[in-house]
Structure formats: C-alpha cells, structure tokens
C-alpha cells in the first residue's frame, strides 16, 4: 500500500543533537508541496542524550493518523539500532550513517549507507557545525531518494532560520552534500517518493497549543497564569507570543497580564481571581496539575466564578509518561474536586478546533459562571498538524454573560420584577446575575465564598438552603447542555445497528478506520463527542444502535463510564475500544477492535 505520496518515514535520532529542526524542515517541505503529512514527535522526558523519534506519515489521501510499519527508517542513533531495524516493513529501506559500516541482520530490506560523519568532518572544521549539519546532510540525501522539490525545501529552511541568512546558505550546502552523494550512489528516487499534490493546499501546519493560545487571544483573554508542565507549556507561550504582537500598544503597554506562577495551585488561583474580577482568565496544565488544581476548581464551581482551563493530557497515572499522549483525565476533570461537582468539558479534535473552541470556552465560562475545561492532549498540543486554516467571524459578539452594570443594578427590580441577589435564579435558567467589584457605590457588593451560602451570598449552615443552592447549580448543567457544541454524526448505514463514538485526537484514526471497514463491507455510523454535558443527540444515537463502540485512549473506558452515568446508556451496549500505550491511535487498532466484534472469524484469520 506504500508508494508515491503514501508512506511512513521515521527519524531515529538523539535528543539535543539538532535533529528536531531538520525534521521539521523535512515535514514542512512536503506540506508545502501540497502533500498531507502528519509528523509525530516521540520524545523522551530529557533535554540531551536520550533517544528521540520523529515519525512522518505521508498520505495524499489525507489519512493523518499515526500508522504502524515504517517504510523508510533514518537510523541515526546507535542506541536504538536494534529496535529501529525491527520496525521497518519487509521491502522497506533503512538509511544510516555508514562512517562506521555495520552489518544489518535483515535481508528483506534495502540498506542505504551514507558516510555522513566522514563527509561532515571533511567539509567543516568546527565540531559543532560537524554535528549540526549531519542532520541537514540526511535531509539532503532524502531530497534525492524521495524526489523532494529542492526550491520548496530552500524556502522552508529560510523560514526556519529567519534572520540568519548566512546559516541558510550553509544548511543548503549540507543539503547539497547529501543529495549529491545519494544521486551518485543510489538508484534515485526510490519507489516511495513524493510529488506535488493538492491535499494540503489551503491548510495550515500548526500545533494545537499554539492554536489554543491564539484562540485565547481572539477570545479576549487578558489574564493568563501557568506553571511549566509538559505538554501544556507551549500553550501559555503561544498566548504570549501572539498577544505580544497583537496586543501591545504603541506606547509599549500590554493589554494582557501573564504570570508564570509558583505552582499549579497558584496558577488556577490567579485565573480565578481574574475571572472573579471580570477579566477573561485562563490557565493551562496537564494531569498532575489537574490534581493540584482540584480544590480551586471546586471553589470556582460552587462560588460560580468563570475560568477556562486547558488540560493538555499526557500519560498517567502519577508522573506517568510525561512525553506521551493519553485521554485519561476524563473522569478526573468531569468531577474535579471534593463534594458534588461537575464540570463542562470541550473536546477539540485538532488545532483548528483548539483555536475555535477557545472563544467558545470563554463564552461558556462567562455565560454559565463556572470553570470550562478544554480537553486537548499531547498529540494535538505538541505535534504539528495539517489542519484547516483558522477562521474568525468579525460579527461574533463575545458573550460576557450576566454581568450587571451600575445602571442595571439601579433598575434591577424594575426590569426583572425581583430584588437582585447574587445567587438568585431570576431567569429560570439557573444562571444568576453577577456583579464585579467596584461597580456601584451602594449596590451589588457581596461576599464570594466556598462555604455554604444562601441566594443572597450570605453564609449559611441551614441544610435546606444548602441543598436548594446545590440543586440550582445542578440545573445549571441542563442549561449548559443547550449551549455546548453538538456532536458530529456521520451516517454510513441508514438503519444500521452498529455505531461508534469517538472524540479528540482519535478522529483521524477513526475516519480512516471507518473507510477501511466500509471497504471490508462493514458500515459503521459514527458520532464525535465535542462536549460534556452530553446532549440529546448522543442519547438518541445510542438508542438507534444495538452496539456502540467507544474509542478512547485510557485503560478504564472513562468516556464509556461517563456515558453510562450521565446519559444512562446501558453498559452492555457500549463496547470499549481502548488504547493506552501513550502513542497516538492508529486506524488499524480501531479497525481491529470493530472487526473482532462484528466478524470474529475474519479477525482471527487476519
């Protein structure tokens, strides 16, 4: 199935050797040739010295999930030679630095040796250059082997090294060195090669974290507090990068405030303080941060303070696999904090949605006066995705929710027929009216607290009032269900009895698997969850189907549990399809999970 514009190349290198930049240039060049690519950075929790891999799937058909089976291995790391060799598919290629020639114990693959270190030593005298340019030498050899457009590559190098023009020329020399060697010694191009295509035209190449940071800028967020944690760090950095450019006045004053907090507790505390005071505020973290932020999330839930939290999920439990991906914080986020709490979650599928769900998250937070958690993950957050260009509707009016001005406070009774009270349900949607500090000299002041309070925000130990307030806050979740984005449903088989529920980063794998299943004669209807609380569509989708696969990246089928608990879907109907090894999901996994259930005999034969 591999061939022109359809293969997987993998780069095995050493962390901190400068390979990341060369690999990015490689992927960006193919993207700019119009070819859909999906680079996945598989990196250690380390700065220098440990093995790191960069997988690039090339798919003119636009299938961008990770795919097992490496067609071309660029094996630059002696530490991992053995496992890298094993990953190459029969008939595939292994490229390596043959300065120290080596016997590769496989006769079903083609080995391409280029004496890179030797060539670099002859060309450059500086040790650092010798090391760094090795990476561009293998990229150069690949331009010949894969028939990559040299001009497009040069543009990508220029972009990567903007402002360092001298370096561009030196890098292109390294490229030429590798290219010439390959042309001279190998039969170029290989049967797997690239050609200009249309699939990526009009798309952008960006990480989910940068997209989410930009989305927060467009959402009008002004307070950002964060604590460094992989894989969420680049989200706050993305916000700062774009805000600095787009939100600095001529006088050099910033229209935003960023605090790198002392820990996650402080990060969410700052965001809640900002939200309480009427600024759109957010923080970004990952699993361990969610655990630390839980107490504050309960406060924001109970005291009804708007705040947005991006959770860039990684492999748990505990410190787990900090540099691998998972969707394993669904339950901990849905019910974060002690006592009866429940939070609104959004599930973006790619960087484009990380951007658009940003504005949505802040609108929901202020409308519902509660924390909104955007559930991204390491795969979406830190990998470059070929994704739809960002769009913004200039007619969009940011929903600032029910915040009273001084005039509205003066006329409140006249307008609403009732006296204002911070936690009074005036409109029947369970969402009260709030006031900001400093609004009115004599009206609207109240005491925000995490202790039990009555409808007028006064401290209470009266159990009936406590229960009444909790009930109203629960009803607010019904309102949330009318406001959150509805699921995306794809019907392949009208009246069919097999359905599949998926969300987030699994989207490309599921779409590819459903196409493959359909070719196998198995038509499966699908629903992509975009938000919790679950909307009616999800309940009726489950009702329409006899069995529904729930595809997710965690051990305990957390989304399935949530569907059972919160949407009353019978458990026997929901078939878990679970992957939790920390690597992005593949279509083969999804196809296998469905086939095993639907056609056990076929699955066994395969």
């Amino acid at each position: 199935m591999s061939g022109i514009n359809d293969f997987v190349a993998k780069f095995a290198t050493v962390n901190g050797s400068g390979s990341a930049s060369a690999n990015t240039i490689f992927a960006k060049t193919l993207f700019r040739m119009g070819i859909p690519v999906s680079p996945k950075n598989i990196f250690p929790s380390n700065i220098q010295g440990l093995p790191t891999w960069y997988e690039v799937r090339v798919s003119e058909a636009g299938y961008l999930a990770r795919r097992d089976g490496i067609d071309l291995m660029v094996a630059m790391n002696p530490q991992t030679f053995k496992e890298d060799l094993a990953e190459v598919v029969p008939g595939g290629w292994l490229f390596y630095d043959s300065t120290m020639p080596r016997i590769w114990p496989r006769d079903d693959i083609t080995v391409l040796g280029v004496p890179i270190a030797e060539m670099c030593a002859a060309k450059w005298s500086d040790t650092r250059q010798r090391q760094l340019f090795k990476n561009m030498v293998y990229v150069g050899a690949l331009t010949a082997l894969l028939d990559i457009d040299l001009e497009v590559l040069k543009g990508a190098v220029g972009d990567q090294l903007k402002g360092k023009e001298k370096l561009v020329a030196a890098n292109m020399e390294a490229v030429a060195l590798g290219r010439e060697y390959a042309l001279k010694h190998f039969d170029c191009p290989l049967p797997i090669k690239v050609r200009h295509a249309e699939g990526a035209k009009g798309k952008i190449l960006v990480t989910g974290n940068e997209a989410a940071g930009l989305g927060a800028v467009y959402a009008g967020a002004t307070v950002c507090a964060w604590y460094p944690i992989t894989p969420s760090t680049s989200l706050a950095e993305g916000f700062e990068k774009h805000a600095r450019r787009l939100r600095t006045t001529k006088e050099g004053r910033k229209l935003y405030g960023i605090v790198q907090a002392e820990d996650e507790l402080a990060a969410i505390g700052v965001a809640i303080g900002g939200g309480w005071n009427g600024a759109r505020s957010f923080t970004a973290t990952s699993g361990p941060g969610i655990s630390l932020m839980s107490e504050f999330l309960g406060l924001a839930y109970f005291a009804e303070v708007p705040v947005v939290l991006y959770n860039i999920q990684r492999g748990g439990p505990s410190t787990g696999m900090p540099t691998r991906t998972q969707q394993s914080d669904i339950i901990s986020c849905a019910y974060a904090s002690h006592g009866d709490t429940k939070h609104v979650l959004l599930f973006p599928k790619d960087p484009t949605e990380c951007f658009s769900m940003g504005a949505q998250a802040f609108d929901l937070a202020e409308r519902l006066q509660t924390p909104i958690i955007v559930m991204s993950d390491l795969d979406i957050g830190m990998n470059d995705w070929v994704t739809d260009a960002f769009t913004w509707d200039d007619k969009h009016v940011h929903d600032r929710g029910k915040v009273l001005t001084a005039e509205e406070l003066d006329k409140f009774k006249e307008l609403k027929g009732k006296d204002w009270g911070r936690y009074q349900d005036i409109d029947g949607d369970a969402v009260p009216y709030r006031t900001l500090p400093g609004t009115h000299p004599t009206k609207g002041a109240f005491f925000t607290r995490g202790t039990s309070h009555d409808e007028n925000a006064r401290y209470t130990e009266d159990g009936r009032i406590h229960a009444r307030v909790l009930d109203r806050i629960r009803r607010k979740f019904d309102t949330a269900a009318t406001l959150v984005p509805k699921p995306e449903i794809t019907i392949r088989d009208k009246g069919g009895k097999t359905g599949l529920i998926y969300f987030g980063a699994n989207t490309p794998a599921v779409h590819e698997a459903l196409d493959a299943l359909e070719r196998d004669g198995i038509k499966v209807n699908a629903l992509r969850i975009k938000a919790f609380p679950f909307t009616r569509e999800i309940v009726s989708f489950c009702a329409m189907h006899e069995r529904v696969f729930v595809v997710e990246q965690n051990r305990d089928a957390q989304m399935r549990s949530l569907l059972m608990t919160e949407a009353n879907i019978p458990g026997e109907k929901l078939i878990p399809a679970l992957s939790y090894d920390g690597t992005p999901m593949t279509a083969a996994f999804v196809r296998g999970a469905v086939t095993r259930e639907v056609r056990p005999a076929q699955a066994a034969a395969e």
Binding site: V217, V270, G273, W276, A445, T460
Partner: protein, 352 residues
C-alpha cells in the same frame, strides 16, 4: 447559622467623612468571633482607617483565605466585594484580581496558619511579584477554628494553654517579607489602635506590596500567662516606642513642627506622607538590614519590635513590572482585545 446582620438604624448625628459616609457605612455584619478576639480590634482599626481616608468602599476588594482571620472580612466594609477563597491561597486570588483591575484597593486578610504554613509559598511569591495590595496577617500563633493547635509563628518559648511545649522555632513573617523584597513591612498589635490605624492607612496608600503583621491574641486558646501572643505579654514587651508614626492625608498640611533629627517625612505615591517620630533607639526604616537587626535583637530579648519596620518608596509594583496598560484590563473593549479576521489571514499565511 452565623450570619447576623446589623440593624441599619443609627444615630443621626454620627460624624461623616468627606464622602458623606459615617463609620457605620464601613462596617460589615456582626462578628461571630469569640468575645475579646484581637481580630475584632483589627477589624475596627480597618473600619476607622478607611473612614478617615474617605475611601469609597466599593472601590476596595477584600480577599481572604480560610480560618478565623479569613472570616474577618465579612465584619467590615459590607459595601465592598469580598472573596473568602481557599486555605492559604489568598495571595494568588488577589494577584489575579489585581492584574484584572489595577484601579481597586486590595486588602488581603490572612492568618498565621493561612500564611506561615499552608500558604507560605503563595505569600513569598506575592511579595516577589510586588502585587499592589495590603497584606494583613492577623497573627495569634495558633489555629483557632480547629481548637488551638500551634501555628508556625508561635514562639518556641510559648507553650500551649495545657502547658504542652512548642518544639519548633517560629517563622517570622516580617523578616521574611523584608528578605523577599516587600516594599512596606510593618508590625503592630491589635490592642494598639494609635499605632495600628496609621499603619493601615500607610499600607493602603503604599503603591506596591505592603505587609502588616498584627499580633492578635486568641482569647480562647492562646491568651494564657505563658503565651507570648497574649494581651499581657505583648503589652509588656511591645517595643512600639522606637518609632511613632503619623499618617498625613494628601490634602492635609503638616502643621506639627518636627524638630530636625527627631522625625522624618516619607512621601507616598498618592501624595500622602508618613511622619516618623524617632524616639529612643534610632531605626532607619529605609534600611532593610537595620530592620532585620531590630526585629532579631528585640526578639532575642523577648520583645516585639513594632511600627514601620521597612519602607522602599521607589519600588515598582506588579503592573510596572508586567508593563500592563494604564487602564484596567477588565474594562478593555473586545474591539481592542480581539485582533479580528484580517490579522488572522496573516497568521494563516505564515503557517502555510
């Protein structure tokens, strides 16, 4: 049920400040703390300070953590918004609120457990960030709400009511604040209104992080004869006479004639002045090292150095450091915050 509203009726001849408000307008609900609690005296001093400074109450935000002290903000300034957050986290909530709106006055109220134990990290970082706030610790050396356990500020020499020894050294928050670079550090005693009220006023006028550690006896658990945080002990060992302080409003003339060498006037950002009467041993509050020496040498003698310990009038506050706009961020229109579709086209082009 511990919410008790005060009757709104009051004597028609109560004195008014320049805003036409009486002291009653600066009060809160009825205190539910123990009768004689030092915290109530601090509350009264806060009310008096805000009244005398003619502060519009709605332009003040009160933020607290958890504990007896953190309940106190309900007992003053009922026209101000308040936020009783989670234990030890008042500093971060205040930081966020202050970033969102630089135009309000922030009064953070905390206790010794809230600040010196669970919230020690947040306290340090709020100092470090120079959050423009008045940070008051109502310091009684014990956990009141959980019935009298030692807190980290209790002196090693100070046993519990039942006579149990305190095995650990105390954390001195004022010393820490100076070392961390707080621009205004003072210590006072809840029973010394004449000293406390001008200090609160000065702390509120100070532009930057103002720290006020107020020894406030716990009448129920830490007011026995052997306690160093008791009324009797602090009265007997208060070294307040080192520096007597007057706070002079921006609008007031300095009418008192201070003899050269015995007093110093410190100008604040808002035009107000602090007049320090130097009596007894000399202490220059602009010298952080001298301030630490004063605290430590008094502590070695079993005394409590009170008054304005340290001030740096030149210090930048958090908004200077963050270079935020002069307008409150929470009041900026979306038209200035959302860059719009045109800017997005450029971003898309760079990413393609």
């Amino acid at each position: 049920m511990s919410y008790i509203a005060k009757p709104s009726a009051h004597h028609p001849a109560l004195p008014k400040n320049s805003l036409g408000l009486t002291r009653r307008d600066y009060e809160g609900t009825m205190s539910t703390l123990c009768a004689g609690c030092g915290h109530d005296s601090i509350t009264a001093a806060l009310i008096e300070a805000c009244f005398e400074m003619d502060l519009p109450a709605h332009r003040i935000a009160k933020v607290s953590g958890i504990g007896c002290s953190s309940k106190a903000p309900t007992y003053f300034l009922s026209r101000s918004h308040g936020f009783n957050s989670v234990h030890g986290r008042m500093p971060s909530v205040t930081t966020g609120a202050a970033i969102a709106n630089r135009d309000l006055v922030y009064i953070g109220v905390s206790g010794d457990g809230d600040t010196a134990s669970i919230g020690l990290g947040q306290f340090c970082h709020a100092v470090r960030r120079r959050v423009n706030m008045t940070y008051i610790v109502m310091n009684n050396g014990c956990y009141g709400l959980t019935k009298g356990q030692f807190s980290a500020t209790n002196d090693k020499t100070s046993p519990s009511k039942k006579g149990e020894a305190n095995p650990f050294d105390a954390i001195d928050l004022a010393q820490m604040a100076i070392q961390l670079g707080a621009g205004f550090v003072a210590r006072s005693f809840s029973g010394d209104k004449t000293q406390l009220i001008p200090l609160i006023k000065a702390a509120i006028s100070y532009n930057g992080f103002a720290f006020l550690d107020v020894v406030s006896p716990c009448v129920t658990f830490n007011n026995h004869p052997t306690s160093t945080k008791s009324y009797d002990y602090v009265r007997a060992h208060n070294m307040a006479s080192e520096n007597k302080l007057d706070y002079v409003e921006p609008k007031e003339e300095i009418t008192v004639d201070y003899a050269e060498g015995t007093s110093a006037a410190i100008a604040m950002h808002d035009g107000s002045r602090l007049i320090l009467h130097k009596l007894g041993q000399q202490h220059d509050p602009r010298d952080p090292d001298a301030a630490i020496v004063a605290i430590r040498s008094n502590a070695a003698k079993g005394a409590v150095a009170t008054g304005l310990l340290y001030i740096n009038e030149q210090q930048q506050d958090m908004h200077d450091i963050l270079a935020t706009d002069a307008r409150p961020l929470n009041a900026l229109p979306m038209s200035e915050l959302c860059p719009g579709s045109k800017a997005l086209q450029g971003i898309n082009a760079r990413l393609s």
